[in-house]
Symmetry: C5
């Protein structure tokens, strides 16, 4: 069960501000990519250690440091210390079991988000944590895995014509958040397709398996929803302009991202209602089918049980049973039985059971 | 499934402010209609391209440009650029999968609404997006399809006596919004009729089909509701006078439209409760009918199964069965069986099963 | 279905401020009653047309014009124009499908309320709309039907000792609203009695009919509730003193009416919970009874089906069946069958099925 | 049904401020007890009529007038008039069907509360209304019945050492409210015990009777809850210091009472969840038992119905039935039937039905 | 039932501020541990009585007094009086049935929390109350049991390098609260494991026992949740900086703890949804299985009951039954019966019952 905060339980007892990695072990080594740019120049570099930072010049308008892999806590602590980032923030960055949040430390903004992808093997959603530290002229991003989520962004920065080159670090932060949020639409589409599939299953072969699929789907959505709701607060905070580090021109873009998160939540809630509705309809259809089964059983039993009794009567071996001796007894009995059966049928038709 | 934001997922990755059409392809070509008027003059014109705009004089009090069809994104971008409309707004206009919203860009107001109509073939609700850009003396409206929703408005403007001729662009905006909201009452009436039909079906022929109709109806309402709730916020914003572009005389009218949206939401919530109630009652009535079926089966079985056993006993071929040899044995047995049956009937009547 | 806003749908398309009657046709002609009074004089008059208004002197402290019947829209428009009432208000007055609301037009206050009564024939709740326009020294009330709801008020005004004679038009408005709200207690009592009746029915004869009654009752309450909740807002607005036209001495009385509406809502919510609880208990009791029916069927079947098989065995006609030839075979078989039956009975008693 | 506001319906139509007794008739005569005290003196007196008030001196710091019985409305009106209490307050005092509320008339505070007790005979909760009018140096309390709820308070006042003697009328009000609220814990304990009893019943003998007990319990809690929620608002108002008549030293005590009401509500909500959970579990266990019953019926039927058919075949009287003539036919048939039965049993065991 | 506030009911009637122990009797004797420290010195001492306090010097920066066991109310009152703590606070400390709360007495802050642990024997959650009184330079903590919850904290204080040595009493309060909150993650993990176990049980052996486990689990979570929600308010109050006693540097840490409580609530709500979902799925799967059982019963009955009737017919003993005399009658009948059976089977296969 992914939602079990096992790591947090393990950590209980250690002093606050301890930079211990909590979460899945996705990558063993950390990769540090540094992109510095302004409207006229771009430089992309892979750093081998945090020590490289001090030898670098930060003479460009924007410095973006992107770190993949949270296992190497020492390296992360070193980078953070270089930028004078609070110990509690460092602790949060390496603990990948947090809910999305935003904190304004005046000199820098700290944000945590989640991205999701579909694990093709298990057909379940996986998530990783993305943290951002946004300063006046720098942005540090921390990614749990090695996925190339932000590679298109590097390409965009390399394009001298793109708007991103003319804007500051806050616009870069917006652009990365936009990538993360746009990603959610892909997840929504996946969920939408799963809902359609389960719905078809329910129509064509309504069995316990379809039920289990609904169960898994509901849990996936619970898991996804838990990440999306706090995201709304985070981006709402940004779009309301409460953080001084965001220029007012960027606010407009943040408002756009905020609209997207609201739309995601809206769609997700609609999906929830749809899945609940589906389950209701499914259970109701079971009741209806049960009803029909019972009707058939009752019709058959009600017609044949009395008739079986009658033929049983004339199968008795009493010495003195006058009817048995009558020449037309057998044929009269058939007449009697047929009229009983027909009467019953008419009764059931009147009750609309047939 | 209409609520799947497929387009948004496709768009994930492209830079912000890209004017890409997202949504259904209703019309291939865009039609631009321009209406300029003041209290004394009216001019109605069809423009063939955005270039025509620059050659026009805007000497009347109000200019209304109405564009149908969102496929031709270049034309829309050209019109928007002419009026200096922000790239993010342009992006929203051509993306028809947004929820209703309003944004105040000081110089102009941007609004997105939805209208609905019943597709006669599928018997399902269809929707299209209507966007408005309201400036100090102009209103640009964007419609996804070619429906003649606003044609009566052109006729009203042509009437020199109508109030609209004496008022500014903000009153025109109100009048168009009023057309959109009034349209919702027609949808509500359609939903109301569907509910009535389904309810009658449940009474006359309660089967799995009626259940499916409830399911479809619930989903229609979910879909409709998703559009109506944010509409309330949009019009609430307008009616509270938070937008400087609306004159205070227009606010009174906006408040009236706001009352209508509240009434629509109220009715819709009542419908929801009614449909839920219907489903509950339906399922309960299935339980009750099941109960009656089971009672009948049980009564028949409980009376005849023991009797069938008895006649079976006297159908046995043991050499030594004294009863069979008794002269009145057969008739005595009938007496015994009748009294068992009557006893059972009395028992069931006492338990109110008959 | 009463809650269908059919009228609003019909009106879609007509320009705002059109004074068209929307709603049921209760009365063909309108009756205008005018009561003017101060602490020393009272005059009660029936007006035949709006033109009579101009010939009248408004020299008393308070003028109350009470109009019954909304069909004659011209007359209503004439009266409203005489008092310079906004076109949107006039439109609302004759449209009897609005939810309760209040609007402050500085010079006058506009309120819409609903009253309910039990239609003895259909045993269903009916409602009519009451609108008030309260000016500094006048009150105009509009009533949809011809019911004599406010006749006792005329009598009270005629009584020179009553407090109402010493107070202004705002106190008169309070007094009429109090009449309307007090009326709701009668409806609550009716609902309470219906709940009791249905509950007794459920206990004495729990069948599909009782279920239908619950259904109707739930819908009645839904319908009633839809009117009561906005009423709370309306009277809350008045009691908080937000309207300048109400003197502070009247506010105290309004607060009293507000308490009553809160009490009505409280009781109504309790009723809802009670009805929901009733349905739950009813459905549960059906499940329990079903259980008992099934137990009986199972006990009977489980005992007699094996026995019937056994007697069937000895009814076979094989030439060589040694048991049949045994002298005591028949009696031994009876012993075997009795012990099987007793064993089964003991098994069922142990399982607490008997 | 206790929650039916019958009295309010009867009152509909009478002018506001009418001091009519509405509610149950608990006591015929009213008892007036007057306690005046300061830190050095105490005087306790029974008054025979309101006229006695004028002959009394109010020279002590605090005067507490406690009136039991609301039938004698004239006496209550006289007392209230003596203290210049508003007619609407007087009306509320004698109408014992109000919800708890508080009103600040600047010169005095008016509060209404409810107390509950268990009627031993019916095993149902009964309630009575307690009203307080708190002035600067006096407190008037009105109690519906003759119960000696506040007798221990008189004893405490008589004790010269008790804190109450050093404090003003506001502290006395606090002390009495504390008595009322503490009483609620006793009711909670009663409800808790009832829940335990019902739960045990469900485990030991789950039948329709247990169901009815849950129903009654739920209704009791509904009834109790309806009184507790508004109580929270009342005491919250007092504890926030919004009433000028309460000294700041008393606020601390009020906050303590407020904590108690929050705790009461918390516990009550937990009880509600517990009872709902109980019902769910109960209904589920019925489904499970039904399932087991059906399994048994199906196993028995599925084994014996085919066998009964087979023995029926060989009970037929055709002239030419070769099997019947075979010497070992009967025994071979037994073998066939046993293997069918064993096969069926193995099938059911595999499906985990046995 | 642990949630029954039995103690509070017993207390009803006693005057406010009475320091009576209410709650379970965990320990007979109280242990007082005193830790005083600043950045350079630490002193840890066990006090035998409250009188020892006066003989002590409070010359260090921070004094922490930790009291275990609430039975000895006199000792607690003595300690509290020494620090001039209000009587109502003393009353709350020894009453261990309160909900978490915080109160600001300007000179000191009073907080109540709960900690939980799993009772290994009963497999149920137990809780104890932790109260804190935080002054400018002292912290008094009260613990209900003798558990060594805070022992690691003493070790940390002894470590001269730890941050706690450089900070004031407010940081100590934070550190202790952090211990309490971190503890909740352990409980969450326990609950998560229980949910997993129950879920597996439902899959492998879905019976009434699994149902009971869900019931117990739901109640555990109800009990836990009742403590966690108010905790959020308490810590939210602290983290918002509303208490003057907390330095701004400590606020950052409090905000971190606040994030943890939000995460705990989030996870708990997810668990609740999971357990509800589990129950739904379980009940649905029972319905489905019931359906399958009924299908089998119906198939068997519907095939064999008519056939049994037919063989019954030819078991009758009428003298004149021509079919019985036909040479191939028996074999023809077998053919007829087989084709009936096959027809039925085809019918059921078409209906997807087989």
């Amino acid at each position: 069960m992914r939602s079990k905060p096992a790591g947090m339980a393990k950590k209980a007892g250690s002093p606050p501000g301890s930079v211990l990695h909590i979460g899945r072990e996705y990558t063993q080594t950390a990769r540090i990519q540094m992109v510095t740019y302004d409207s006229s120049h771009v430089k992309v570099k892979e750093l081998s250690s945090a020590a490289d930072l001090s030898s670098l010049s930060f003479d460009h308008a924007v410095t973006w440091i992107h770190i993949r892999g949270l296992q190497n806590t020492e390296l992360i602590a070193a980078v953070c210390d270089f930028f004078h980032i609070h110990a509690l923030v460092q602790e949060d960055i390496v603990n990948s079991e947090h809910r999305p949040k935003i904190e304004d430390y005046t000199d820098y903004l700290f944000m945590m988000l989640n991205t999701f992808w579909l694990n093709e093997e298990t057909d379940l959603l996986e998530n990783e944590q993305i943290s951002f530290v946004l300063g006046a002229s720098y942005l540090i991003s921390f990614q749990e895995t090695d996925r190339n989520l932000f590679d298109p962004m590097v390409a965009r920065i390399n394009n001298a014509q793109s708007r991103i080159r003319k804007e500051g670090a806050d616009y870069l932060a917006y652009a990365l958040i936009d990538v993360v949020v746009d990603n959610y639409f892909i997840i929504l589409e996946t969920l939408g397709e799963k809902i359609e599939t389960v719905e078809e299953d329910l129509v064509t072969q309504p069995n316990a398996d379809a039920l289990k699929k609904i169960h898994v789907l509901k849990r996936e959505m619970l898991f996804f929803r838990k990440a999306v709701w706090p995201l709304r607060e985070v981006i709402g905070f940004l779009s309301r302009g409460e953080a001084a580090l965001l220029k007012s021109s960027t606010l407009l873009y943040m408002r756009d991202v905020y609209d997207h998160t609201v739309q995601i939540i809206d769609t997700l809630e609609t999906y929830r209602d749809m899945v609940s509705g589906m389950l209701d309809i499914y259970l109701s259809s079971i009741s209806i089918r049960m009803n029909e089964i019972m009707k058939l059983l009752t019709v058959i039993s009600t017609i044949f049980i009395p008739l079986t009794f009658i033929v049983g009567v004339y199968g008795m071996n009493f010495d003195n049973m006058p009817e048995l001796r009558k020449e037309w007894g057998y044929f009269i009995l058939w007449g009697v039985m047929l009229s009983i059966a027909l009467g019953m049928l008419r009764f059931f038709r009147k009750r609309k059971w047939l």
